[in-house]
């Protein structure tokens, strides 16, 4: 693994390296270019993690500001984008914890679900009704899917969001989350299974 890290340092292959070094010299315009480039993907990661658009916007702003503050410490060991996503994911997780302690959000967790599967149905999904997914309005459909994503534990959710929604490679996910590839895969497969079960219930079939 350390071998691979060394290889990456030698061949960064980061198309942001010029902008990043300009930022490190204090050029604010260069940072603006990076904001323009990554804000959408950052927002989508945050939104899928948190499930609330406005909270996601806040988190993205904080993430960029935090990135600006510590950009001088960025050594190019990983790609800049990877570094940026790790920041937004961490901030998203923190925000979710805050929201959960406030009780502002109903929490669905894989473990909780396992415990209550035959029980009181604590994670009651929205009533699917008679309609099939194709007939459902897109927005409503997406909202139900998001409800299921939000029900996953944050570790599973992060992997699912990065891989199945944002399309990152396993290597990138490994870099972002700093977890071994095997762990990434096992989490991902468990997350998919859990989501599949949730979607079947929420959408009334797949």
């Amino acid at each position: 693994m350390s071998k691979r890290v060394e290889e990456r340092v030698q061949t960064p292959g980061d198309d942001d390296s010029q902008l990043v070094s300009a930022c490190q010299k204090g050029e604010i315009d260069a940072f603006e270019a990076l904001v323009e480039k990554y804000q959408k993907k950052m927002l989508n990661v945050a939104y899928r993690m948190i499930g609330d658009y406005h909270e996601a916007c806040e988190v993205v702003q904080d993430a960029f500001l935090s990135a600006y503050r510590s950009i001088k410490k960025f050594r190019g060991e990983a790609r800049f984008s990877t570094w940026l996503y790790s920041i937004v994911l961490n901030l998203s997780k923190n925000r979710m914890k805050q929201l959960r302690t406030r009780g502002a959000r109903e929490v669905y967790s894989i473990d909780a679900r396992a415990e209550t599967e035959e029980g009181s149905r604590r994670m009651d999904p929205p009533d699917p009704g008679p309609s099939v997914p194709e007939q459902m309005e897109k927005r409503e459909f997406d909202a139900r899917v998001q409800g299921c994503i939000s029900g996953l534990d944050s570790e599973y959710r992060a992997v699912l969001v990065l891989r199945d929604i944002q399309g990152f490679s396993y290597e990138e996910i490994h870099d972002i989350l700093k977890i071994p590839d095997g762990t990434v895969k096992s989490r991902l497969f468990r997350a998919r299974d859990a989501l599949k079960e949730c979607l079947k219930k929420v959408l009334g079939g797949l």
């Binding site: 940072f31 927002l43 658009y53 993205v60 960029f64 899917v145 929604i165 599949k196």
Partner: protein, 372 residues
């Protein structure tokens, strides 16, 4: 392979990540197991659903808001660095103006304090010297001294005002002196002391303002007396009244010598403590009253007319917002009457100074202030 094992590996199978053996086993199982095939389909569908989720767009203000916060951060950071590395950074023009203002105020304060400081420096070591300087006046032969002073008084006027009025005053005085001389020795003495008081009181009304002014002002009488003397010597025989008191030629030489010596002494004394000399003189001769009344303007007018009634001379009235100051010269015998009359106007406080001897005029200063 059981269905449970198959389903655990379906995700890897879908991604083509299962080992070739596993892949073959799963293929065989799926062909025969309908439930697992459905599970595979559902898993595939889940992946599709996630891929087809609509992306959210960032709000249009997002970049601006982020950059505003970033710039604020950068500014405060730079501000800190600037403060750290340029502690003497001057903000023009505010700080420059403040610096100039402080400098100007400092100069003003110093200038205002300077004369006082000079006096302070002078007063303590020079006091005995002044006492010695003052001493010769009474010690000198009264006739010679008074004569000198009298001539000086005349001289002071003649060159200063070349106009007829001053000359007339001088003549009048000379005539009066001549008349009194006839009355006798005592009269002469009395007459002689009169100009003395004049000389001494002359500088007194002038407020002791700044030291340089006094220094400039004081030498004039000395200079004037020099000119005056020579004129008196020339003129001495011509006016009949002056002739009556004109001293002999011998006396004149003595007088001239005395005057010269006195000038020397004056010159010596003046640079040392001019203001102190003034203060000492005015203190000795000036009687001042503090009158507390309801209406200071009205009282001022009454005092003025009272002074006229008492035959006071050199009446000067200065009206200010908070008080009225009237200076005059009153015959000593009228002093008691003046004091009595003032008491009728309001509460009277007689301040420092002592009334002059019965024979001569006394300079008075009446300060009228509103009563509380």
């Amino acid at each position: 392979m059981e269905c449970q094992d198959i389903r655990k590996n379906l995700s890897a199978y879908l991604e083509g990540m299962a080992s070739p053996e596993d892949q073959e086993l799963i293929d065989q199982h799926l062909a025969s197991c309908r439930a697992c095939s459905t599970a595979l389909y559902e898993l595939n569908r889940t992946g599709e659903v996630l891929k087809n989720l609509k992306e959210v767009e960032p709000p249009p203000w997002m970049t601006k808001k982020i950059m505003a916060r970033v710039r604020e951060e950068a500014k405060s950071k730079r501000g800190f660095i600037q403060k750290f590395f340029y502690p003497l950074h001057i903000k023009i023009p505010l700080e420059a103006f403040a610096t100039v203002l402080v400098a100007v105020i400092a100069v003003y304060v110093f200038k205002a304090m300077e004369p006082e400081m000079k006096d302070l420096q002078v007063s303590s070591p020079k006091e005995p010297v002044i006492a010695r300087q003052e001493a010769p006046y009474p010690a000198k032969a009264p006739a010679a001294e008074t004569q000198v002073l009298r001539e000086k008084a005349v001289a002071q006027k003649s060159p200063a005002g070349a106009n007829g009025k001053d000359l007339a005053v001088a003549k009048k005085e000379a005539e009066e002196r001549a008349r009194v001389d006839e009355e006798g020795g005592v009269g002469k003495l009395k007459e002689a002391t009169l100009p003395l008081s004049e000389i001494k009181t002359l500088p007194a009304p002038a407020p002791p303002s700044t030291a340089p002014k006094k220094e400039a002002a004081v030498p004039i009488p000395a200079e004037a007396s020099k000119i005056g003397e020579s004129r008196t010597v020339e003129r001495a025989p011509s006016p009949p009244a002056a002739a009556a008191i004109a001293p002999t030629q011998k006396d004149k030489i003595a007088i001239a010598e005395g005057a010269a010596q006195e000038r020397k002494e004056l010159k010596k004394a003046q640079p040392m403590a001019p203001s102190l000399r003034m203060a000492a003189k005015s203190k000795a001769e000036l009687v001042s009253f503090l009158v507390r009344v309801r209406d200071i303007r009205l009282a001022g007018g009454e005092v003025e007319s009272l002074l006229h009634q008492l035959g006071a001379s050199r009446i000067e009235r200065v009206s200010r917002a908070s008080d009225e100051i009237i200076t005059a010269e009153v015959k000593a015998e009228k002093m008691r009457e003046l004091s009595e009359k003032l008491k009728l106007l309001g509460e009277v406080e007689e301040k420092d100074g002592r009334p002059g001897s019965a024979e001569k005029d006394t300079a008075i200063q009446i300060e009228i202030v509103p009563s509380h």
